[in-house]
Amino acid sequence: MRRLLSFLFNYRAFIVFALLEIFCVIFIASNTSYQETALLNSSNDAVASVMKVSSDISNYFYLKEVNESLSQENSKLRKALANRENASMPQFFWGLDTASSDSTAVGASVDSILIDQKYAFLPAKVINNSVRRIKNSITIDKGARDGVKPGMGVICPEGVVGKVKYVSSKYAVITSLLHTDMMVSSLIKRNNELGTTQWDGREPSLAKLMYVPRHIDIVKDDTIVTSGYSGLFPKGILVGRVSDINIEDNATFYDITVGLSTPFSKLAYVYIVENKFKSEQDSLEQQFIRIYER
């Protein structure tokens, strides 16, 4: 016993070191589950409230740009209001022109009613934001008491922003689109072909559009929008424009670079998307998966 104790004492530094490293590994591995770690991130009250002060100060210097973006959005909303009768308003709202959907005006207005019922939008202010790291996140000043839940989509007037990850009572942390694990189901707007947008960790203004097979017709400057299939974002939110297309001789998929429409480094206000039918869609899809796994 005494020998054991003296052994432990001699190696105490190593034992403490190993134990703490194991803790860290558990922390890192549990980063994906949001419930139990809600205290140890920037949605934490103490951290977020001081961040809010520092963002209030630094935002002061961006007031002009924020004003411009908000007034642009305002004018877009006014136009949408005027066209409300014959156009699909939510699409008009979130960065899409409706000129192309005129031929399907009836379908569009049905869509618009559905989208009105299906989605609610909650405005929030950005209090912490990063774009230079590999796994970037954004902290906003709306939390559980405003109805924010993990897994909700986040957009801004210019396009897609990300997905809510952690929630405390007053604040929430968003996984930015500039996070290498974040994937957004996307469509090429011109021909409705499906792809997945994912950031590769390099330029904050460029992402990759993946899994577009080589028989698909795609050209430079094609508009990329969200598909709406995952229920995270409404269909048709702007993601960006194709800026570069490459394909290797024997590759199955294109190597497509998309210039993102969202100015991530200047984010000031965002909208949280609440999909009222999300749980219904998920439970239905779960049933399907369960049946076919048997």
Binding site: R12, A13, F14, V16, F17, L20, E21, F23, C24, V25, I26, F27, I28, S30, N31, T37, L40, N41, S42, N44, V47, V50, M51, S54, N128, N129, S130, R132, R133, I134, K135, S137, T139, K165, Y166, V173, T180, D200, G201, R202
Partner: protein, 174 residues
């Protein structure tokens, strides 16, 4: 460690945490050089500190820093590692004749040459862990390595500059 010393260290801890978390959190030069100035607090702990305590302090500071970066565990893992290595590293690079009681691991007390040998490898290891654990794979190996390299230089320069700005070099009777 007496009471006054402890209070001074606690004050340093809070100051470094605050500066890192709120002021230079998103300071990045040329897209590759990040500044993790808070490592200075860990490096400047007394030379004769007991073995276990610095590791625990490293863990606490790391977890708090992680809260600001939403990267739970990454900075903590890096800090715990360098604090474990630090006690051995101090022994390995001991100057001839050992350490005196008044010596602190600063460029003023130990000389620039010693400080570079002491701090640069530890900062490098810290940044290596932070950047590679963050990305989680080796897909952008050389890009990440360049980040580690330039951030190490940037952090080291900042730490040294802060040392010369804050601490007035004291006259020592050797």
């Amino acid at each position: 460690m007496n009471g006054r010393n402890f209070l001074a260290q606690l004050f340093n801890f809070i100051i470094y945490l605050f500066i890192q978390g709120f002021i230079i959190r998103n300071l990045v030069l040329f897209d590759v050089a990040f500044c993790y100035l808070y490592v200075a607090f860990l490096l400047l702990l007394p030379l004769d500190a007991p073995k276990v305590l610095p590791i625990v302090i490293g863990f606490m500071l790391g977890v708090l820093i992680d809260m600001f970066y939403d990267s739970l565990g990454i900075h903590a893992a890096a800090c715990v590692l360098i604090m474990y290595l630090r006690s051995y590293w101090i022994q390995i690079i001991m100057p001839r004749g050992g350490y005196e009681f008044w010596m602190t691991p600063t460029p003023q007390a130990m000389g620039m040459k010693w400080f570079i040998t002491y701090a640069l490898p530890l900062i490098f290891v810290h940044h290596l862990v932070v950047f590679f654990v963050e990305i989680g794979n080796f897909s952008l190996f050389f890009f990440t390595l360049s980040k580690v390299f330039f951030s190490t230089l940037f952090t080291f320069i900042m730490i040294t500059v802060v040392q010369y700005l804050v601490r007035t070099p004291k006259q020592r009777v050797v």
